[in-house]
Symmetry: C2
Subunit: 255 residues, 2 copies
């Protein structure tokens, strides 16, 4: 790997050279970012377990994509049912709420101070915390000491639980929560996309062999996995391909 | 409240005087500790929501107890299905593993450095982290800024996720994870039993009107909610009543 993009700075000081005998858990939604993380992890750890969540998403095409991608990558895959939808509070799980269309200019960046008005209604309360907590349980059972999550500070939707300070705090907590922490088997939360733009993420994935036509990022994907092309998530994804001057293999329903 | 036991030191510097208009979420298993926390919270917050988990416990008598107790206390109650059992690794959810009988002398105390050998097989990987993460989601939706959990450093079973340093780290993470943290609506993890022995917890509960005959702590309770009297949890509970010179209203199957 000679391209600097294939070795983005992880959240910790852990280096690739001593990780080849170690195991990792990857949070895999089936979207562009998480699939890139899956291939990044596969390239560097001995064993990778992908974990996806069935949390009352409007369509399950994302989960179908996750399953196919994990199979294709040849990694173990767990789908965990979780009960977030009954809690309400998000347009992604509450079908009475409207998912907003995208406006790329309004997205905060890592240099902004986000405020409540900038948090869109697609935010699911405590979602990444719940996801990472399950990943922590899987990491204990599979003796993994890396959890990989595809958050980014550069092109993100303004969710508080994507910020580096949040990820660092979760890592500190996780090392106090578990047997691993007690026995000195330190757990790392790896965020290989943290400093990458969407275009750089796609370039990284291309170099690792990701087939982006199979990934689904859209909040409103139809039952055949075709993207709407206009929601926040589609807007960010489209801009990534376009900024990088890369062909966009996404299947759009509007096309 | 003049009894010092009714105002144990919480994990934070938050005082009772400014909490009467605030909301709380209480983790309610149906056991002695969590029911004491429920009554402690009811005594001090404007609105309390109790949250219980259906996680493949061997018997659901604990959940039935939780439901009855929440009804009797007149608080909202949510039961959330979670999918820990499929992960394996604990005798509480893996029915092929044997739950050990209690040996009160072997329990670590807050002055011990716990090690892996001291962690019993009743430990469920990342359990408190998953429970607290869901409580965090409920707290966001119900606009609560207190989550109450009945962990104790004094009489505990050697689980890493009951230690004060773990709770403090979760609180730091939680305040970075959520809208609440972004808007300065600070979230507190309250641990009113942290410095109390089991006997002191029972004294606190008695002063608040808890009916301990209704609570179930046993890891092996039968389908009618009767306790085995010999598992770790029963051993700690029995010792609490006995150390405090208090009548034990627990219904034992062996009696």
């Amino acid at each position: 790997m000679t391209d600097a993009l294939t070795s983005p700075t992880p959240s910790t000081t852990h280096t690739a050279s001593d990780s080849s005998n170690e195991n990792a858990v990857v949070l895999l939604s089936g979207g562009l970012d998480s699939v890139t993380c899956l291939y990044w992890a596969k390239d560097r750890y001995a064993k990778v377990t992908a974990v996806s969540f069935n949390y009352g998403q409007r369509h399950n095409s994302e989960l179908v994509a996750a399953k196919n991608i994990a199979n294709q990558a040849g990694v173990d895959h767990k789908i965990i049912d979780i009960d977030i939808a009954q809690l309400g509070g998000s347009s992604l799980t509450d079908h009475d709420m409207t998912i907003p269309d995208g406006d790329a200019d309004k997205f905060p960046t890592h240099t902004d101070n986000i405020d409540n008005d900038a948090i869109p209604n697609t935010y699911v309360p405590a979602r990444n915390t719940i996801f990472l907590s399950y990943a922590l349980a899987v990491a204990e059972v599979t003796e993994a000491n890396h959890i990989v999550i595809g958050v980014s500070s550069v092109d993100y939707s303004g969710y508080p639980d994507c910020r580096p300070e949040y990820i660092n705090a979760f890592e500190v907590m996780a090392n106090l929560a578990t047997k691993a922490g007690v026995t000195g088997h330190k757990l790392h939360i790896q965020t290989p996309l943290q400093q990458l733009s969407k275009a750089q993420t796609i370039q990284l994935g291309n170099s690792l062999g990701v087939d982006y036509s199979q990934t689904i990022s859209c909040y409103k994907a139809d039952s055949e996995g075709r993207a709407c092309g206009i929601c926040d998530s589609c807007t960010l994804r489209k801009r990534g391909f376009s900024d990088g001057g890369l062909a966009d293999p996404t299947r759009y329903s509007a096309n």
